[in-house]
């Protein structure tokens, strides 16, 4: 029998750990939605973000919050630079999708190697002591990090929701996401929408890397591996649904945490990949109720002998 308190603990910890994953998933999903690019360069920007904060705080002794600020500026700068001079050039040339992909992937690879050259490949974290204070609530361990993570993520998501739905820029972004040509026709500054997208993404990434970096240590390659999670969340959540991606991220995180009950730990790493396959095969447009019903009825039709 599973001890209920262990179950709750795993759920809570999984939920708290999903916070930074949510931020990365939403960032990735937002770029897919508005800019229509599978931005694998995000992994490189994530690494850059972390290492700038790390360098400022741990190498130059800058206080943590200020380091985060510096990291934020650097991240947003890098993001916007990549869009203005990288993606825009490819857009101007009407490059095929393959070129966009190669570009974004290679940017991430470049940054990973570059950072490895400077910082080496020993795992490092933002805080020398990644253990934060703990509080025990009803038998469940809730660390201060957990609380901070949930709050930061919650505030950012709420702000994003407000921005997307209540501000002009947010609505312009939605219009560009829907139809860039038409938006341009109506006088919407498409370039500005892209820049704002990357500014927001930069913010989400920096926050996410701050949270992750205060809880665990990373090497330059770590963000690349974390990208898979963001990609699957985006797929599951549905194209163009950034909050769907957020929900998917929570779901995946919980499933990963809870799977310890059914799958031996050595195969835990495989779960994400299995999910990726299932998602692509059955839910290429994202999980939605009509699609689920369609699949269920299809399987019912298939069951009786042909």
């Amino acid at each position: 029998m599973i001890d209920i308190s262990i179950l709750l603990q795993i759920i809570w910890t999984g939920f708290a750990a999903s916070t930074y994953a949510i931020l990365f998933a939403v960032a990735f999903s937002l770029v897919v939605k508005v800019v229509k690019v599978w931005n694998f360069a995000q992994a490189g920007i994530m690494a850059l973000s972390f290492y700038v904060m790390y360098a400022a705080h741990n190498k130059f002794g800058v206080p943590l919050l200020l380091s985060v600020g510096i990291g934020l500026v650097a991240t947003i700068g890098a993001n916007v630079f990549m869009d203005r001079y990288g993606l825009q050039t490819l857009r101007n040339r009407n490059s095929p999708d393959l070129t966009f992909f190669i570009f974004t992937l290679v940017v991430s690879e470049f940054l990973a190697y570059f950072l490895a050259m400077i910082f080496g490949t020993e795992p490092v974290a933002l805080k020398s002591n990644i253990m934060s204070g703990v509080n025990i609530v009803n038998g469940i361990v809730i660390s201060n990090w957990d609380i901070e993570a949930v709050c930061v993520t919650g505030v950012l998501l709420a702000a994003l929701y407000f921005f997307m739905n209540k501000t002009h820029d947010g609505q312009f972004m939605a219009a560009v996401a829907d139809n860039p040509e038409l938006s341009r026709f109506y006088g919407i500054n498409v370039t500005r929408a892209y820049v704002i997208t990357f500014v927001i993404t930069g913010l989400l990434i920096t926050a996410g890397m701050y949270l992750f970096g205060t809880r665990a240590s990373i090497i330059p390659n770590t963000p690349l591996q974390m990208m898979l999670f963001a990609v699957i969340s985006t797929l599951l959540g549905g194209m163009g649904r950034i909050f769907g991606a957020a929900v998917a991220a929570i779901g995946l995180s919980l499933i990963q945490g809870l799977s310890i009950f059914i799958i031996p730990s050595q195969w835990q790493g495989l779960i994400l990949y299995v999910f990726l396959f299932i998602t692509i095969l059955f839910f290429p447009q994202g999980v939605s109720l009509p699609k689920l019903k369609q699949l269920l009825s299809l399987s019912k039709k298939a069951s009786p002998a042909q």
């Binding site: 940017v107 190697y113 994400l272 396959f277 692509i280 095969l281």
Partner: protein, 290 residues
């Protein structure tokens, strides 16, 4: 001297890999970066057959190619059926997922790799023999790809790349063609894997990670996608490059990432400055490149 001979073995292997990768991504237009996993499948199949069954090396290498050929369909069938764009993500997942499996299976030696692959060439000329075999296979593969692409089939592939919808409306099964190209390219990678396994007698999962994908991408992009000799040039160039910087006498911890920095910078430079690569596409100049 020995050093250059073993470099020749690698050159042969990588020419095979980059040419077959170009067949898939450059000519077939299939955005998959999972080529290293088929390289791995060939290597592991050959290695395991050699260790446990003492299979004849030619058979073992061919088996490696066969396994790679067939398993490519595990990736292509589901993802091509849905939509070409998803192939990319699925390929990354497929490559990393299979590597996860390999890392946790006992029979493959897990994360520490598969060693003690029997030596099949005795004597002081071992490296030379391997070099000849490796380069001959590379030559055969390049020639076979060339033959495939310059005949009527090459026309078919070009038409498919130019406009798949119009192509299908002519009665052509584009998916079948893509599956075939993918399988053939992956099969060649598997054969390269077999040679690799026999030469180094030790293989491990981390030799087939995304770094490999990046290397192959670099060879193809820098050499010239969509040209037959491009990947050959790319492979030779990129294998000689680390040798060129090795005289800088940097510590290994800087050396490895520095190579990566150079590879990736090269790709970026070429992507923006000379997208067609060193060797421009063949006589059928794509009007879109203009």
């Amino acid at each position: 001297m020995e050093y250059f001979i073993s470099l020749a073995v690698l050159v042969g292997i990588y020419i095979t890999l980059s040419s077959s990768f170009n067949l898939i991504i450059g000519f077939g237009g299939l955005v998959s970066i999972a080529h290293p996993i088929f390289f791995a499948l060939g290597a592991y199949t050959t290695g395991l057959l050699a260790i446990h069954f003492q299979t004849h090396p030619v058979l073992a290498v061919l088996a490696g190619g066969g396994v790679a050929f067939l398993s490519s369909m595990m990736l292509s069938l589901p993802s091509l059926r849905i939509s070409g764009d998803y192939l990319l993500i699925t390929s990354i997942g497929f490559q990393l997922g299979l590597l996860e499996v390999i890392k946790h299976l006992g029979v493959t030696g897990g994360a520490s790799g598969l060693g003690n692959i029997p030596n099949v060439v005795e004597g002081s000329y071992r490296s030379a023999v391997f070099a000849v075999v490796s380069c001959s296979i590379a030559a055969v593969v390049v020639w076979m790809i060339r033959w495939l692409l310059t005949g009527p089939y090459g026309r078919v592939i070009t038409a498919m790349r130019d406009d798949e919808l119009a192509f299908s409306a002519l009665g052509r099964n584009a998916m079948m063609i893509k599956l075939s190209l993918f399988a053939i390219g992956s099969g060649f990678a598997g054969i390269a894997g077999g040679i690799y396994a026999y030469y180094f007698q030790y293989i491990s999962p981390d030799q087939f990670e995304i770094l490999q994908s990046a290397m192959l991408l670099t060879m193809v992009v820098v050499g010239g996608m969509g040209s037959q000799w491009g990947p050959v040039v790319g492979a030779v160039l990129l294998l000689l490059l680390p040798q060129a910087i090795s005289f800088l006498n940097l510590p290994p911890s800087v050396m490895a990432p520095l190579q990566g920095v150079i590879f990736t910078t090269l790709v970026l430079v070429f992507l923006f400055w000379r997208p067609q690569g060193l060797i421009a596409p063949d006589k059928r100049q794509s009007a879109k490149d203009a």
